[in-house]
Each structure stands twice: as structure tokens, then as C-alpha cells.
Symmetry: C2
Subunit: 245 residues, 2 copies
Amino acid sequence: MTPSELLAPDELAARLRAIGEERYHHRHPFHLLMHEGKLTRGQLQAWALNRFYYQSQIPVKDALVLSRSNDPEFRRLWRKRIVDHDGTAAGDGGIERWVRLAEATGLSRERVESGREVLPATRYAVNAYLELVSRKSFLESVASSLTEMFSRDLIALRMDRLRQHYPWLEPGLAYFQARLTQGPEDARFALDWVTRHARTRAEQELAMDALRAKCDILWAQLDALYFAYVTPGWPPPGAFRMEGQ
Amino acid sequence: MTPSELLAPDELAARLRAIGEERYHHRHPFHLLMHEGKLTRGQLQAWALNRFYYQSQIPVKDALVLSRSNDPEFRRLWRKRIVDHDGTAAGDGGIERWVRLAEATGLSRERVESGREVLPATRYAVNAYLELVSRKSFLESVASSLTEMFSRDLIALRMDRLRQHYPWLEPGLAYFQARLTQGPEDARFALDWVTRHARTRAEQELAMDALRAKCDILWAQLDALYFAYVTPGWPPPGAFRMEGQ
């Protein structure tokens, strides 16, 4: 049975952080290998190529969230996320910066942008995110973005380790540099909004479940990468294959 | 560029069968282990528990297809699929028979039906099937069912091997027995329908792509099982764990 007492804002924030500690993908073995310098160039290519599909759908996801709000103030603030990813002109924005990261791994822009070699499991997980923000309550849609509470620490660590272990990736790191400031801004707004709009304990529990669901979506993408390109290393028919395999 | 000449019915059927030969999940390593008698009871439990989610959504999928048809004759014939899975009374039908298979592995009905321990990746792949039949063309929705062209051979082999290697599963095999006749009936109707309604080469190509997409959905479910319960054997946070692990 769901407990009935409303959590104080600090307690809600603490529980959300505990969910991240347990389920956010900073703990995933694929990221651990990355940060230990144990991934090959081919494995980093598979990561960049698959994660591009996630990046490419973020403004779609944010437009779906935006489309569900009748509050111009909320929409003005949420719009920032779309601007961050799509930029203000061609050649600008987070998606473009991710393409440059993928190019730094040695993939061509065309190959990445086409999406042809993306793992089906990546597509299913990302599309589950679009479904979540389309079909769940508006509160849950916003709460699913709270993984940004944990992204800064992961990105700071990742930039340090990528520079150390894969210095040839340096020309591609602008994406992460920008996210160091964008992510925490987004997280502060979303946490404040969720705290104010989850007005019952049942709603607070829904917000926590939405964060768990989003962690699952990120985790599943790395499970699929690990299975296809690390151990046992079996990409499904039609998906990206590493050179020499 | 898409070729433009219409394929003759026999040639279309041959190409669909070639897609199955390459991509249907009879070739998946998880099934190969199953048929060689190399899965543990815990791994068979994980399979039955996850595959239950797929089974449970089949009538939902078929209702979505049915809802898109304005042809009473098509709807009457397609309705059979829903009857096959939901039965004509409580305790009847394919979903109920799958529960009994899961019970034969040693899981409780409640644990299976709750869906609590299903892998997120299973859920995403199955929901991708619901999305496919909701959003793609009606032709593609019907064509995605053509994996039934290949199911009889797989099920016949599986029944033989399950009896040989896991005789304690015998009380759970009624599901497969029923599918031996239901699947081929469904496949004949769907193949005939697709052959008559794919009237251009472009439509024939869409039908073939829909079959590939469905094969990917089945394949991804077994990839997720293999990763979580065979090698490396890492179920994500919150998912089913085998006893003794």
C-alpha cells in the first residue's frame, strides 16, 4: 500500500537522489569500461552511433512535453531545452555537437545521421521515452527529466577520463562542455516544479516512479550496447558491426 | 533506389521466407541453448516470465489491427486471433496456457501476471510492436504478423526438445500444442491478404520491411534475456533475479 504522508521538499529530493544513486547509468558496466580506458575505437563508435538516436529524439521529447502544458511561463522555460539541442542556426546545438563527437570516433556524418545501423533495442528504449511523455500524466512527463540531477557529475568524470584515455576524441568534446551548465539549470527548474506540483504522497510516488522508468530507459540502452559490442558481442542482424569483425 | 517491377506472388512469398531464414528468432543463441538442453530452470523461468508480457499484449495488438479495418470480412477472420489468445471463458485461451507453462517452470501465477519483474527491454520491444501496428500503414500492420509463417517449425522442434531435456515442463506444453494449428492458419490468411493488397513494388517492399521489423522485435527480446540471464548475466535494477544469485 502506498504510504499517505506527504514528504517534505528536502526529503523528496533526497529520495530522488537515492533513486539516481541506485539506478542512474553512471553505474553501468559499459560506462565503467569507458572510464577505465578499456573500450576500443569500434566500441566507442557503436556508442556514439547509437546514442545519436537518443540525442536526436530529445527535442521531439521536449516538444511533446511542451505541447501538454497550458502555462506560457512553463513553456517559455521548457523551450530552452529545445534550443539547447537544436541550436539557433544550422551547425549549432547539442545534436550537431554530438555528430562532431561521432565524427571524432571516425564515423561519417552521413552514417550517423541516417540511423540505419542503430540497434533495434536502442530505438525501442528511446521510443519508450517518447511514449512516457506522451501517455503518462504531465507530472510524470516532467519528473522523467530528473535524471539531469545526476548528469553533471557523470559528464565531468567522463570528460576527464575521455581526455586521459582517448585523447583523439578531444575535437568531439564540445557537447559535454555545454551540458556541464545546461543540465544543472534544467534539473533545478524541473526539481522545483515537481516539488511544487506533486501535492499528494501518491503524486510524489508517481514522480519517483517516473524517474525510475527514465533510469531504466538509459540503462537498457547500455545493456544493448554491451551485449552487441562487448560481451558476448553479438549485434543483431542489420545493426552496426565493428571493423575487422 | 527501390526497384519498380512488381514481384509475382510466389516470388514475394520466397523473399518473405528468405527474411525469416535470416532474421527469425529460431536462429537466436538463446533458443539454441534451450533446444540443446543447456538452460537452467532459472533461465527458463526468466524466459517464461518475460515472454508472458509478449503473450499478454498479443490480443491488444490484434485489437489495434482490427480497429483499423473497415472490412467486416477481414475483421471476422482477424478476430479469431483474439479468441485464440483470450479464449471463450475464464481459464481458457493462449494467455492462460502460457501462465500454465510458467507455473510448470516453478513460478507462481501471481508473480507472472503482475509483470513486476519483466525486463524493461522486453517491455520496450513488445510496446514497439503495438506502436508498429498503431502507426504504420495498415498493410504493414498485417504484414508484421507474417512471422507466423515460420513459427510452426520452431514450435515443433521446441516441443520435441523441451520434452527431451526438461521433461518436468510437460504439464505446461498445451500452449505450443494449440499454436501448431493456430499459427499456420493465421499465416496463410495473412500471406494471402498481403499478396493481394500489396499492389505496387513499393508496397511489397514495405511489407518485407514490416516483417524485418517484427523479426527485430522478437530477436531483441531474446538478446535482453541472454544479456540478463546467460552472458554476462546482469539483470538491470528491479528485474527478475534467478534464485541463488
